[in-house]
Each structure stands twice: as C-alpha cells, then as structure tokens.
C-alpha cells in the first residue's frame, strides 16, 4: 500500500507538470484558487473566453480530452493518465467547466453512435473548445423520470421536425451544439419511443431563455423548439433506441473519477478556527468540534474513496461502485455546513454583503446554492435508488407506466 506513482506514471506526471508550468494562464491563479463550490467568476474577464483560450492551448499541446483517440482530438491516454493530468492541471481545471458536459457526455455519445464523418467533423473541435456542446435531456415533465419526456420529433422526408421544450440546460446560451433526446413514437411504452439526435443550437426555431434560479443566479436555461429541422444524418443510434443511447451518456457522467467535488470542509474548518464567539473560539466549543469531526471524516472518506478508484485505474482494473457516493455525501454536507456557519454568526448570519463578517458571505452563498447540488445530475433520491439497485442488487420499484403506451399515461392527479 502506497501513494507513489509507478515509474511510467511519474514520467507522465513530470511531463504534464512541466507543460502546465510553461503554459498555464498564471494571471488567473489567485482568483481561481479562491473560488470554491464550482462557481467561478473572474472579476475582469469572461469565464468562457478565458476557458476557450486555455482549452485551445491544451489541445495544441495534446492535453485536451486526453483519454480520447488522437484522431478525434485526444491523446490516446490511459484512464490513470487522465487522473494525473487533472491533478497537475490543478486550479486551471476550473476553467474547463464550460466544456465538461461536452467532454464527459456528448463527446462519448457521438463517439459511440456517430458516423465516422461526424466523429471527425465534430469531436476535434469539441476537444479544443472551439465548439461547446450542451445536453438537452430534462424537461418540465421529465426530470428524474427522464423517459417521460414529451419533446416530439416527426419524420418529414430525410429530416426530422422538432417541437417541444427542454429545461435545466447548463450552458445552452453559449453552446454551439446540443445532444437532444426526443419522442418519436408516443404509441409505444415510454422507454421504447425515444430517439437521440444532435443539432446546431443556431438552427431556426431554437430559442434559449435563461432561468432565474432560487439563488438569484442564471446558469441554467429553458430551450424551446418550434418546427426545428434536423437532418436524419444527425441521428445517433436507431429510431426508438434513444433510451439505451442516453444510458451511454449518463454512464459516462458517473465515470468521472478524480473530479473535484466541493464539500465545504476546508472553508468551515478555517472559519471555525478563527471565529471568536462570546465563549471563545468556535473551534473550542464541544458541539462545534463534534460537528466538524463528523464532516471531516466524510470529506476524508470521499478523498480516500477516490484514491481507491484511482488505484484500480492505475492497475488497469475497472473501479468498483464506491465512487457513486460522492455527490450524495457532498451535497447534503454543503447545505449542513452553510446552515451551521450562519448559526455560529448569530443574527449577522443572515447578512450577505461581501464586507460582512469574517467569511465574506461565502456560507450565505453556499446556503442559497446548495439545494441545487442535491438535485442536479441525479437527485439524492435517484442516487439512493441507483446504489440500492445497481450496487446492492435490490429489485426495481413496480412501475405502473412501464407497459402502457406513452400517450395513455395519466398526466395529472385525481
């Protein structure tokens, strides 16, 4: 048992480190280091533009999407090399946020189901960040129940005509292409009538509207489709096979090992170490210590769980299912930490000004944003179902809509 690189891994790490040292945009290092919770704001620059510049540079140096084949813009690297790269890229990895859905979900789907022409046309530009992709799955009537989606695609000659609405689409407002799942046959049970496409987001009839979120920010969008025409050549997988294609996409989402999930623990530990209360430093209070310790062992448990997965990759093995716990643990933890930090500040805990109190409003921001961490990318409840069914082998729930034609499924209660 050790934490050392193999000689090959050490050599790869040295090469990566040298390249990052020579090429990274150091002028943003401090700002990026300070931004936590995956929320990046650069005071004087546009995040997407800075990100595109960095991604392009990486692509030219052979460091973009490095586990992809070379002919599609990658490096043909092994999974462990990708993890080592992420470690060496460090804070600059935060700049790649606009490209993560493309790299992690859309790209792999195109790679698995696209024609050779499509792969050569789209994947290298996705890898280099020149073209940004978004994922159009969720709908007002199909969140956790993705297969309940209603956006229609109807065949007209060699084209498909799309009508409907998607929601919760991250980055739709700056995306060039989208991966779109639609219903092509409402007369069969819901999982059987779906088909996957990709489309140009500038197509006629696509309208992107930002959603003002509960935390006051705008990161997600609604996307409306009115008679949007997509050529059949942009279909991914067979007509009616959309559900199994989407599983490829979602599986890739969950394989993102070594990605950094914020827990709030370092920020909270520092806050409690410095916060003076009427009874002395917060960290000397037994109740606070007990909570901090419980959060600390969750954070370290997640860290070493990911080390176990990395070790499996290093040996060329497939990691176990342990990594599925990450978001479930960290989402609740962020919310609990934010709530308790505000409690420690007393009445001032509700103030949000950047100049207020010791923590300059970061826990208040965390509080308002944390509900989304427990919903986006699989709600806590869906994640528990996945662990129970796929890891522990428990039976699926009884589904009353499973064998019913989609257009006969009730849509309202009573």
């Amino acid at each position: 048992m050790n934490f050392d690189d193999t000689p090959q891994e050490a050599e790869f790490r040295a090469t990566a480190r040298k390249w990052v040292a020579a090429n990274a945009p150091k002028e943003f290092e401090e700002e990026l280091s300070k931004s936590s919770l995956g929320r990046i704001r650069l005071a004087k620059h546009d995040m997407v533009e800075v990100g595109k510049t960095w991604q392009k540079k990486k692509a030219e140096g052979g460091w973009a999407c490095l586990h992809w084949p070379k002919e599609y813009g990658g490096r043909g690297a092994t999974p462990i090399e990708k993890v080592i790269w992420q470690q060496e890229e460090g804070v600059y990895g935060k700049l790649t946020q606009p490209f993560q859905i493309g790299e992690g979900m859309c790209g792999p789907t195109v790679m698995a189901f696209g024609t050779e022409d499509a792969k050569r046309r789209y994947l290298p530009k996705l890898a280099s960040g020149e073209e940004i992709w978004c994922q159009l799955f969720s709908e007002p009537a199909g969140g956790s129940d993705v297969a309940g989606l209603r956006t229609r695609a109807e065949k007209q000659g060699d084209n498909w005509v799309i009508n409907g609405q998607k929601i919760w689409t991250s980055g739709a407002h700056y995306s060039d292409y989208g991966l779109l799942i639609t219903r092509t046959d409402p007369n069969v049970p819901k999982h059987k009538g779906l088909t996957m496409f990709f489309l140009d987001m500038k197509s006629k009839g696509v309208e992107v509207r930002p959603i003002k979120q509960a935390n006051g920010m705008q990161e997600f969008n609604e996307v409306y489709f009115t008679d949007v025409v997509i050529p059949d050549s942009q279909r991914l997988g067979a007509v009616g096979d959309g559900w199994s294609v989407s599983l490829t996409t979602l599986m890739n989402e969950r394989m993102s090992i070594g990605s950094r999930l914020a827990t709030g623990l370092p920020e909270m530990f520092e806050f409690c170490s410095n916060l003076m209360t009427d009874d002395g430093l917060a960290i000397d209070d037994p109740a606070t210590r007990s909570k901090l310790a419980s959060w600390a062992v969750k954070a370290s448990g997640l860290k070493y769980t990911s080390y176990r997965a990395i070790s499996a990759l290093s040996k060329g093995e497939r990691p176990g299912p342990e990594n599925s716990i990450g978001k479930l643990v960290s989402g609740t933890m962020l919310q609990d930490i934010a709530t308790y930090a505000m409690d420690l500040e007393g009445a001032s805990g509700a103030l949000t000004g950047l100049d207020e109190e010791t923590a300059s409003g970061q826990f208040q921001q965390m509080l308002l944003s944390s509900p989304s961490m427990r919903i986006a990318g699989g709600t806590d409840e869906i994640l528990r179902n996945i662990i129970a069914e796929r890891v522990l082998g428990l039976p699926g729930d009884i589904r009353v809509d499973k064998d019913v034609p989609f257009n006969k499924i009730p849509t309202k209660g009573r």
């Binding site: 048992m1 448990g301 070493y304 080390y307 528990r384 522990l392 428990l394 039976p395 699926g396 009884i398």
Partner: protein, 375 residues
C-alpha cells in the same frame, strides 16, 4: 498510486473468512452470548494454529512477522464474524504495548505465548466513568507495588497478564503516568466479572492490593506510550467495525430481498432501499478512512494520530448506523433473540465506547487537525 491491499493480503483475508465461517458461525458466538462459556477456547486455539494471533509479531518473538496490513485484514474478518475471543485486548492492546515499550525479556516472555494462544493479555486503563486522560488515573504505584481499582478492563476475567496505567507522580503533567506489567496469576489482584451489553466480549473489575508489578517502558513515559497504543488499536478496532458494518448491511440486504410484504419483496420499496443505500454510504466512507489508517499504521507515518482518529470515528458511526438499521429493515423479527441482528447491535455499541467514546475521538481529531494546520 496503489492504495489497496496486495494480492497476498487479500488471500489472507479470504483464508481468514473461510476459517471463521467454518469455526465461528453465529451458533458459536451464541455459546458465549448465552453464558455457556467465557470465550471460545477452541476458536482461540485455531486462530493460534492459523498464525493469526502473531501475524504482526516479529519472528524472533514467535510470531509470523508479517505486518500490520495483514493484521488489518484479519481484524476485519474478526469483526465480521463477531468472534467471541479476547483478540482485541490481547493483540491490539497488550501485544502492541509490549512491542512499543517492552524490554527484550518482557517481549521474550509474553509475545511467544500470545502468538501460540497460551497467554491472554489486556490493558487496564479506565477507572470508572470517563474517557482516557492522565488526570483520571488514580491507581498508585510505589516501590514496585500497585494499589487501586481498574474498571472496565476488557477480558479482565480471563486475562493472564495486564498492562496497567498507574500514577507515579503528582505534578499534574502527563509524566505522572507510568505503565506496569502484571502477571495476573501471581496474586495481589481481585477479579470481578462485570455484565455488559455485549456478553460476547467480557469486561471485569480488577482490584490491585499491594500487587507486585514490573515497569513497562521508562518511568513517566506511560501516557505517551498509551497514546500510541490507543492510536494503533483504534485503527485495528476500526477494521473490526468495518467488517461488522458490512455484515450488517448484507444481512439487511438479504432480508429485504427475501421478505415479501404487500405482495412484493420489501427491498423494492424506496423507503427500504434508501435505508440500505445510506448504510452502504456510511460503510464505504468508513472503509476508505480505515485504508488510510492502515497505511499510516503499517508505515508508522507521522499522519497516524489524525488517520487513526478519522478511521475510529468513521467506523464507529458506520457500525452503529448499519447495525441499528439492519434491525429496522428486519422489522419485528429483528428485535427477537433468535435473529442475529441484536448481536451486531450489541457489538457495535459496546465497541463504540471501548478505547474512548466517539466524542473523545472527535475531540482528538480536531486537536490533531489543528496541530497539522498550524505546522
């Protein structure tokens, strides 16, 4: 990075599981639970024959000389099987104290007997309610004799020798504490068995009356040695707790698959699934923290104090969580004497307070993290 046990260590885990499945079924645990024996003597002899008792004891002292990673995988299996033997007190506490601080003669005398199963050892630290602290140690030592009362002492009624923490000064500092080694069969100690929530592991009160004792380690080093022994034992006990957590989770899962209510397996209800998913989460976090503790223990890393506290907290929480929710998944049957659920619940909650309770280790962890952050 190779943050995993080696193939050989995994083979040893498999061998231990096979051995314990055969020699330590729930029926054997119940013999001790029901008071028909104080511990499973046949199992103890078998563990010695398998080389498990001396796995981390060097060959020159009669052990297998393997190491602590090997001991960790065996500990996990001991916890999983609820082995009703004085393994923790003898191997994690007494043997570790001897290895850390014993003279060559002391090691020669006791370690081979531990490895062969001839001697049971323990650590006599606590004196009534409370967590480990130098101030709580009142038992006095002067002129090589001990006077005072220790309770609870794990496996104290069946132990052949004890490492005893005693007061040798009154300056109010850690250096007031020294350790002694006492042959419990040589007279001067009254032993009284105590009842406790987990009868598969005995507890006792030891009263020392002008009892002859030999020093273990230098005078005044007692607290420093104890701290190290407790850290090392914390990692090993945490592996037992992880083994117990996994077994409790499996029992709950198997029952949820088997039990039909409302016309379907209860494991198809989300309310039940989510209980089991949360058990998996806590057991997984504990296992990962324990692996880090194992690494720190086996390399004697400077990170051991923090790693041991994290492993101990995480594993205590997981075993308590998994064992209580295993009962919940079983419903009424889980609350019968006949089903094994309560044996895990008893073990989980007894283990949670031996070596110092959860709040003690939480306190330790925060102190140790602050020290690291300050450094």
């Amino acid at each position: 990075m190779n943050f995993d046990f080696s193939d050989e260590q995994k083979q040893m885990r498999d061998a231990a599981r096979k051995f314990l499945t055969e020699k330590c079924p729930p029926k054997a645990v119940r013999e001790v639970l029901d008071g028909k024996a104080t511990y499973d003597k046949a199992l103890w002899t078998g563990l010695a024959e398998m080389g498990f008792l001396g796995v981390a004891i060097p060959e020159e002292f009669g052990g297998a000389g393997a190491g602590h990673l090997e001991l960790c995988v065996i500990a996990e299996e001991m916890g999983r099987a609820l082995a009703p033997v004085p393994f923790a007190s003898t191997v994690y506490l007494a043997a570790e104290a001897l290895l850390l601080a014993g003279s060559d003669a002391q090691k020669q005398k006791w370690l081979p007997k531990i490895a062969s199963g001839e001697a049971i050892g323990t650590l006599a630290l606590f004196e009534g309610k409370g967590n480990p602290s130098p101030q709580a140690i009142k038992l006095s030592a002067s002129g090589g004799t001990l006077n005072g009362v220790k309770k609870p002492v794990p496996d104290g009624a069946i132990a052949d020798f004890a490492i005893v923490a005693a007061r040798t000064g009154s300056t109010g500092r850690d250096a007031d504490i020294s350790l002694f080694l006492v042959d419990l069969k040589a007279g001067g100690v009254e032993v009284r068995s105590l009842t406790n929530i987990d009868p598969t592991h005995g507890q006792a009160e030891l009263t020392f009356k002008n009892c002859k004792a030999e020093p273990l380690g230098a005078a005044g080093d007692g607290w420093s040695i104890l701290t190290q022994v407790l850290d090392r034992a914390a990692v090993l006990v945490a592996f037992e707790q992880v083994g117990g957590s996994d077994r409790a989770l499996e029992m709950g899962r198997d029952y949820a698959l088997d039990r039909i209510a409302f016309g379907r397996p209860i494991g198809s209800f989300q309310a039940v699934k989510h209980i089991l998913a949360d058990m998996y989460v806590s057991a997984t976090l504990a296992r990962s923290n324990c692996y880090y503790g194992a690494w720190a223990l086996s390399t004697n890393a400077s990170e051991l104090p923090e790693a041991a506290a994290a492993a101990r907290i995480s594993a205590t929480q997981a075993f308590q969580h998994c064992s209580k929710n295993n009962i919940q998944v079983h419903g009424g049957m889980g609350f019968t004497w006949e089903f094994d659920c309560h044996m895990y619940y008893r073990r989980a909650n007894a283990t949670a307070v031996t070596l110092g309770s959860l709040s003690y280790w939480e306190d330790q962890l925060i102190d140790r993290m602050r020290k690291k952050n300050a450094a």
